[in-house]
């Protein structure tokens, strides 16, 4: 990877921080707990990295690490989205 390519990624990072900041300051306190668990589920996005490592052709150390990472990340993703949905299902106006 070239330093210039890295800088490209830094641009994306900085912009995404801005987007995140603006959107999250708009979430009302009522929804802060689901926000916490929902954004936590998003952080399970490393599942993508885990899939790449766990799916390598030969079974190497990399695969084992990848498998462990995959299990961890899947727990984070599936657990996070489900529990958030469970909470949000309860928010009702009558």
């Amino acid at each position: 990877m070239e330093i210039l390519d890295l800088l490209m990624l830094v641009y994306v990072f900085v912009l995404a921080i801005f987007v995140g900041f603006e959107l999250i300051t708009k979430v009302p306190p009522t929804l802060h707990t689901p926000l916490m668990s929902g954004s936590n589920a998003i952080s399970g996005i490393t599942i993508v990295g885990a899939l790449l490592s766990a799916g390598a052709e030969e079974f190497t150390l990399s695969t084992i690490l990848g498998l462990a990472a995959l299990i961890f990340a899947t727990i984070n993703v599936v657990g996070g989205y489900l529990v958030t949905d469970r909470m949000l299902k309860m928010f009702k106006k009558k």
């Binding site: 995404a16 306190p29 707990t33 916490m36 998003i42 390598a56 995959l70 299990i71 727990i75």
Partner: protein
């Protein structure tokens, strides 16, 4: 092919953004969470089509095992256990980031002879942040679940040791970047970071855990972004940055609400925080309080026009949200106007009370935020405090020496009558006495919230 997957990663990123955007209103929040999970699904599917993925057996095992564990956890956890749950999930996320960085290192060093500098830097950062998040979150979970001591743990040379460990891991990181063949350095870094996670969270008081968890949540987002840098994948960077921003904002909100600096929380500042308040017990006995029994309380409520219920951490402990909702129903049937006043840091995590009341099916338009109801307490006949303490402590308004001075509080003392339900005169989270209890218009209604309110409801029904 790669173009298609880049495009779909872009779509997934946009779905995450929309998902968080829609969390901005209770009406669209659930849909937002679904959009976000759809984004995740797309990301997974596209990755499976990547040319690097050649065998699926381990993947299937991983996904099945992970999904099973995740679903069970998500469906079993009680609403009062949310803080722990988020902490635990968060730890898994951090752990996964560190493991991926390792795996990627092995993979890349199989392919190329040496890693280039940006890659090795991000591998090191991923491992540090991921490992700290992993053990830190586990300790936070343990403290909340009361497996690990909830006390503020202090030991000699605490900060120097942490700084030293951190410097050692940075030094090891530099050595690794200079010569990426030195895999021992990576293990050293991982080991130190795992220890550091424990040491950093252990000193923090149990009641401060939500702040720690939120901060670690932010770290796990940053760890995901780092992984994105390693894999040269924008989607990971974006998703990670969103989570990083979310975690840090919630942390700041909590610190502001508690009127403390982040440093103070992280360094385990308040030794009394979450304690039983023996310290403040001294002059408590002297001052007189008025207390009521269920019958008297019921009569008070019965003659009111305007009632505001103020829930606090005690409601969560007692799991009294259903009883509270029952109370509101009974009063409303009598034509009494019932509202809920929710302080931004009532309970132990942001939005804690809202989730519990939502679970008990209280309509969210009956929940008023501090700034929306605070000017109206003059017109309130009965303010009913259920297991709240610090968030209604008038000292925050006028006592410059109080640790919570300056923190915005609910002005319940301005209402005609204040009824406070808690088990004793003990202190709350901030470990300080509350003059509200001794006020002229305050009546204490002692007892565990669930029992006491159930009794109250029965009395009111009987009137």
């Amino acid at each position: 092919m790669q173009i298609v997957s880049y495009l779909i990663y872009l779509i997934a990123s946009v779905l995450f953004i929309f998902g968080i955007k829609k969390l901005g209103s209770p009406k669209t929040a659930r849909q937002g969470n679904m959009l976000s999970s759809l984004g995740m699904f797309l990301a997974v599917v596209v990755t499976l089509l990547d040319q690097r993925v050649l065998t699926f057996e381990y993947i299937i095992i991983g996904i099945v095992v992970g999904s099973a564990i995740g679903s069970v956890m998500a469906l079993k956890v009680p609403m009062t256990g949310m803080p722990q749950m988020v902490g635990l999930l968060n730890g898994f996320g951090g752990g996964a980031s560190a493991l991926v960085a390792f795996a990627e290192f092995y993979h890349l060093s199989d392919v190329h002879s040496a890693l280039d500098i940006p890659t090795s830097v991000t591998v090191v950062l991923s491992i540090i942040i991921g490992s700290v998040t992993f053990t830190g979150s586990l300790i936070a979970f343990g403290k909340l679940q009361e497996i690990v001591t909830g006390k503020v743990v202090k030991y000699p040379l605490q900060n120097p040791i942490n700084v030293l460990l951190f410097l050692v891991s940075v030094a090891a990181g530099v050595f690794f970047v200079i010569d990426p063949a030195q895999i021992d350095m990576l293990f050293l870094i991982a080991g130190i970071s795992l220890v550091l996670g424990v040491l950093l969270v252990l000193p923090i008081g149990g009641a401060d855990m939500p702040v720690a968890i939120s901060l670690l949540n932010s770290y796990s987002g940053i760890a995901a972004s780092m992984t994105g840098f390693v894999l040269n994948n924008n989607m990971l960077i974006i998703a990670g940055a969103l989570v990083g921003a979310s975690g840090i904002i919630l942390t700041i909100i909590m610190c502001k609400g508690m009127n403390r600096s982040l440093m103070n929380v992280v360094l385990g500042g308040w030794e009394t925080a979450g304690g039983t308040g023996a310290a403040a017990g001294g002059d408590k006995a002297q001052k007189p309080v008025k207390s009521v029994d269920p019958e008297e309380a019921a009569m008070l409520f019965d003659s009111a026009q305007n009632v505001v219920i103020v829930p606090g951490y005690g409601m969560a402990v007692a799991q009294a949200q259903h009883a509270v909702r029952e109370l509101a129903n009974v009063l409303e049937k009598k034509g009494i106007n019932v509202r809920f006043a929710i302080h931004p840091v009532a309970g132990r995590m942001p939005g804690h009370m809202n989730v519990l009341l939502a679970e008990a099916q209280v309509s969210y338009d009956k929940l008023y935020a501090l700034e929306d109801i605070n000017d109206d307490f003059n017109n309130v006949d009965v303010a009913f405090i259920v297991g709240a303490n610090d968030v209604v402590n008038p000292a925050a308004r006028h006592d410059k020496n109080s640790p919570i001075y300056g923190m915005p509080i609910l002005n319940v003392d301005y209402s005609k009558t204040v009824v406070v339900n808690k088990r004793s005169l003990n202190v709350g989270y901030a470990g300080i006495d509350n003059e509200l209890f001794y006020g002229d218009n305050t009546l204490m209604y002692f007892g565990d919230a669930k029992d006491a309110i159930t009794k109250l409801v029965n009395e009111i029904k009987g009137l």
